[in-house]
């Protein structure tokens, strides 16, 4: 079901790509993509065969004896050479047989994908949404402030903010050290945020850097402590699907998604911001200003679109790397998605499913990037698909 | 216009330094299309002569000039330099001729490596060719050249390019190209980026250097006054073809090609007698991917006839040493004078 939906989505997008960019481009990309996928999966196959440990021994565990192990080897073709193994894997996958995810209980990878795929998918979607929801407005705001005159805010507001923050913190019951840190930082942030101008920009930019400088797992662990244990805002009950109700679904995902989102937010934010700042210096912005257009109009109608180009490129190139964050987040929140499955599969030395998944990720990567190239042409009419950026 | 033919070649002279014959340069334009940047250009340059190249943007001036120094190699045609066919030289052999053919670029700042000292920039040629291992000689040579272009070697040599104004930077470029004692210098719009007050300095400098080092220049500009000032002969290009080639005073006095006349008519001088001719140029420059057949100028020419649309005109000598490729050249006996204000 899910697989079918994904396939249909793929197909629709592929048709769109062909329509916008033409057959030539599509075929060219298909060739390049296949090459990458073959390279990646073969490299994976080869690497996996070097990994010490025996998938059969691991699967059979303490029940292993020589005959059982030999039988298992034979059944899985592990006695053949790498090329033969690769070929047999490729043949299976191309014929639609994704293989066993768990040899011991004969659970198929399709099953696992069906069960866990949606979790990772939603985690990814919400994570990206959160990242975009935070980074886009902040990035725009920040870029806009970079060259603006700060608003005049009386300095005496600072102590008021400070007292208010302290009061909030004390009634809200934050721990002492947090109070001390936040009581200084929060008022400053409010003050410079309201003031805007280069200081406001610096505030956003520095915060982005700060976020970039904290390992994801520290954020994840801290948030789990604060939101799941200290206050009961998140239930550590694992994923709930849409079927269990929208509320249950969202409340089972929001925290991991937030952490995952926060890990990419600074990247997006900074890219958008620097692109926007650059574009704000373009002549056409001066022209628009000379036309008397309002700042808001200029920001959203003139600058935003061309500024998303780098963001798109980078998002595309990082699509495979989102899994890194997902692995960590899934681990901390006991969120059983594809990331944690992959790790478990490596630990179990389940070679074939790993190869299949790596191939899927690689396919996703090349497909997303092809798509982005095409989107590029609609965002920036100067570029024609297939141009080398 | 826009014609071919070998008529402009002055094969009778023995001081010809460069001979360009049927030069063609094409670039892939994506989608299997081809940009016909230069299509069959023929001209020659005598030793010590300055040939000016004018034409609208995109007419192929730079491409022609670069093809002459084989950067990049032309698609077809021959470039003959002092007894050598450059298009046939390969690798090391071609590299060996390089010092003889130098180039000055338009943007004075970006043509200098910002991370090298001026003395290094200027001395680069000597380093490459390792003329002498004698550092003294190298230094002396660099100093000599720097002084020649009007820079104080002691002060200028130790500085970095960004510390110089545009005019000074262009002097450094000139110095760099001179250090290897070249025969020919290709100047691709060397003064377009400069202020008028500085432009004169560089034009004078080029004239001085030409005299001092016996240079031959190929000078590109779209400023007709500048080209007139510096050139002995001027060639007018349009959409990858030559229209007219003639000694400069002659060309400006008796422009025969409708395109040349239009160009001259566009010079922003009050009371330009050719101003009316410029009207024709309002139309768009056709795409070099699909150049018009026949005379390439016919789409914008007020004299154009069916013949122009079908047959390509060949270069013909209408006056001594004045060649035009046009079916309907304007030949009058009263020279035009565009008065400067």
């Amino acid at each position: 079901m899910v697989l079918a939906l994904i396939l249909i989505a793929f197909a629709i997008l592929a048709i769109w790509v062909v329509r916008v960019a033409g057959w030539r481009f599509a075929l060219q990309r298909l060739g390049g993509s296949s090459l990458i996928i073959v390279l990646v999966t073969f490299a994976t196959t080869w690497l996996l065969r070097q990994v010490p440990g025996d998938p059969c021994l691991t699967a059979l565990g303490t029940g292993a004896n020589q005959e059982a192990v030999d039988l298992c080897r034979l059944e899985r073709g592990l006695d053949k050479n790498v090329f033969a193994q690769y070929w047999s894997w490729a043949r299976d996958v191309l014929s639609g047989d994704l293989g066993f995810a768990f040899y011991k209980n004969r659970e198929t990878l399709s099953n696992v994908l069906q069960a866990r795929g949606p979790r990772s998918f939603w985690l990814f979607v919400y994570g990206q949404t959160i990242a975009l929801l935070i980074s886009v407005p902040l990035g725009i705001w920040s870029a806009y402030q970079a060259n603006r005159v700060p608003r005049k805010i009386p300095v005496w507001l600072l102590p008021i903010f400070l007292v208010a923050t302290l009061a909030l913190a004390i009634t809200g019951g934050w721990t002492l050290s947090a109070i001390i840190v936040l009581a200084v930082l929060v008022p400053l942030a409010i003050f410079y945020g309201l003031r805007g101008g280069p200081a406001g920009d610096a505030l956003v930019n520095t915060s982005a850097f700060a976020l970039l400088s904290i390992p994801v797992f520290v954020i994840g662990e801290t948030f789990r402590y604060i939101f799941a244990i200290e206050r009961d805002w998140y239930d550590l009950i694992g994923y709930r699907s849409w079927g269990d109700g929208v509320g249950a679904h969202l409340s089972s995902v929001w925290l991991p998604a937030l952490v995952l989102g926060l890990s990419v937010t600074p990247v997006y934010l900074r890219l958008l911001r620097s692109d926007m700042i650059q574009n704000l210096q373009q002549d056409f912005v001066a022209v628009a200003k000379a036309k008397g257009m309002s700042n808001r109009h200029i920001l959203f109608r003139h600058v935003l679109r061309p500024s998303t180009l780098t963001l798109l490129t980078v998002a595309g190139l990082n699509i495979a790397q989102i899994i890194n964050g997902a692995i960590v987040v899934e681990f901390i929140y006991d969120y059983d998605g594809m990331g944690s499955y992959l790790i478990a599969a490596v630990a179990r030395r389940e070679f074939f499913p790993i190869q299949t998944l790596v191939a899927l990720v690689a396919a996703l990567f090349v497909f997303a990037n092809t798509l982005i190239d095409v989107v590029y042409t609609t965002v920036d009419p100067r570029v024609s698909a297939g141009d080398d950026k | 216009m826009a014609g071919s033919g070998h008529a402009p070649l002055r094969d009778d002279r023995d001081d010809i330094l460069i001979r360009v014959k049927d030069l063609v340069m094409e670039f892939p334009a994506g989608g299997g299309k081809v940009v016909h940047a230069v299509s069959g250009v023929t001209f020659d340059v005598a030793e010590g002569e300055t040939l000016g190249l004018v034409g609208e943007s995109g007419s192929g001036k730079s491409t022609t000039a670069k093809a002459v120094i084989q950067l990049p190699r032309p698609t077809s045609g021959s470039v003959w330099f002092r007894g050598q066919e450059l298009t046939e030289l390969k690798g090391e052999a071609l590299r060996k001729v390089r010092p003889e053919l130098q180039m000055i670029f338009q943007d004075p700042i970006s043509s200098l490596n910002p991370r090298r000292k001026v003395s290094d920039v200027v001395g680069e040629g000597i380093r490459v060719w390792g003329g002498s291992t004698d550092g003294q000689f190298t230094e002396a040579r660099i100093n000599e050249i720097l002084e020649a272009v009007g820079l104080d070697p002691k002060i200028a040599g130790e500085r970095y390019p960004h510390e110089f104004s545009g005019g000074q930077a262009q002097r450094i470029s000139v110095a760099r190209s001179l250090v290897l004692d070249p025969k020919v210098i290709v100047c691709d719009e060397p003064v377009s980026a400069l202020d008028v007050s500085v432009q004169a300095q560089i034009l004078n400098l080029l004239e001085d250097m030409k005299e001092r080092y016996g240079l031959t220049l190929l000078f590109i500009s779209h400023d007709l006054s500048v080209v007139k000032n510096i050139s002995d002969r001027v060639a007018v290009m349009y959409l990858g073809k030559l229209c007219e080639i003639s000694p400069s005073d002659e060309l400006y006095a008796n422009p025969a090609h409708p395109y040349t006349r239009a160009l001259l008519g566009a010079i922003p001088e009050p009371d330009n007698p050719l101003a009316a001719e410029a009207e024709t140029l309002s139309g768009e420059l056709p795409s070099p991917i699909t150049p018009p057949p026949g005379c390439r100028f016919h789409t914008r020419c007020k004299y154009a006839t069916d013949k122009c649309r079908e047959d390509e005109p060949q270069m013909e000598e209408i006056r001594p040493d004045h060649f035009v490729a046009c079916w309907h050249p304007v030949i009058t006996d009263n020279p035009v004078t565009i008065k400067a204000s």
Partner: protein, 550 residues
Amino acid sequence: GSSGGDEESTGGDDPEDEEVETGGDEEETGGDEETGGDEEETGGEEEAMADGPSMGGDLSVLVEAESDTWDIPGANCAVSCISVMNAVADNLTMINENNEVEPFLLESYEPNADFTEYTLVMREGITFHDGTPADGAAVQRSLQEMAKGLLQGQVLVDLVDGPDSIVLVDDMTVTVTFSVPFATFGRNLAGRTGWLIAPSFWDDPERAGALMVATGPFTMDEWSRDEQTVLSKNADYWRSDADGNQLPYLDSITFRPVPDVSTRRATMESGDADVNIDSFGENLDFWDNQWTGNVAPPPASRETTYLLLNNGAPPFDNPDFRRAIALCTDRDEYLAFRAPGNALANGPFAEGDLGFIDDPGFPAFDPAAGSALLDEIGRPEELIYGTTNVPSNLLTAELFAEQWATNCGLTVNIDQFDQSELITKAIGGAFQVFLWRNHGQAHPGLEYVWWHSRHASGLALNFGRIINEDMDALLQQTWATEDLGELDALGQDINRLFAENVHNIWLNTTEWRTPYAEGVHNVNGLTLPSGSKGLTGTAGRLTLEETWKG
């Protein structure tokens, strides 16, 4: 206190039982220790005095690992798997709190005098979850399948004619004959071998991935790998409590495998789960002193944490070297840092279990002597300490590596790898020393597979590759008697044998905690058909048959 009444065995005897588990996040260290027996009694009474059980409720239980399959004969069925199985399946026999075997699903269970033939009579009127009758044929089938299984087969390896010697005598009666005396069979039936599983499960061609079908108090409704296993009340369950209320009380149980120990603790703290099992040393203090809910009483039998030495390969094939390392190991320091408050172990049996002696003669810490011995026999170029790459295990590794290096001048290399490799290395004998946790089955005979030379070659369950004739002989004798006194004596001999040969380096007994939330009652409570209390909770295994929420 090792009062006579304590001598009981627990459910698990089969090989799979304890294999490990130094592997998980769970570092095996004990918490504040109280002797199991005392706690058990007081705990039990508390539960009993609470208000009568109420019906209904959904229980959410955290376990440390997912089961690889429910196809038990070949499954790596450890504590998490056993906990689920306990709720889904019933055993043919059970051990009572006096460590005696009692029939459970069986009407009666009779060995012959030399323990070579057993007559099992099935209780009438019991049906499987699928409605088919649980009769003698089902018992025969189950036992036969077990005997054919890779793992369980090793338990039943001495059947006279293999599976054929399990014979259906009449509708309800089955006999099982062994070629050698096998006195522990009854205890095996209280463990994995004895789960009665429906023929429809055995017949399922894809049974490796199928849901369990048995006779237990709960039926298995859903199994989402790594996410949850959902059980619901078996309305036709054959048992009721003393007041005649139908068992079980709960409507459903959801088991959620959560491998990360700190996540399990966080989930409990946040109130998002009802029951947890935990043996992580650094959490024990928390459960004992800070946890606002309850903790189920642990039984006396406890596993032992030890350094598993590979007796089959250099350098540990040399008894002198093993002794030297023991002399160089400061176990008190280990206790102080890694298992604060836990009892030092000098042998494989925990205090209160058969075979326990306070001082079997295990070498005490004496670095000078160790060093001298090493000077004599020479030091290996390097010693490789293998461990999984889990932070807490690495800390322990670091500690021993440092001890051996500074105390005795050995070069120790810590080889870290991921979890699955630990097992494969252990079965294959590809290691020098591992931190390990095992045993504590309350009956020396149940440790047979781990120590007998018969299991020491090739891919072997005798991970330490102990080949010791005296040991073999003693183990064989434990299979020939049911007399607890005799067994105690045999156990003590084994204990001394271990100390003398330093086959392993014993560290400490392992404490488990089974914390559960307020409002949950009678976790691990079990009343046997005879009215006596069942022995439950060994090594964290859960029994939820009589648990209720309210």
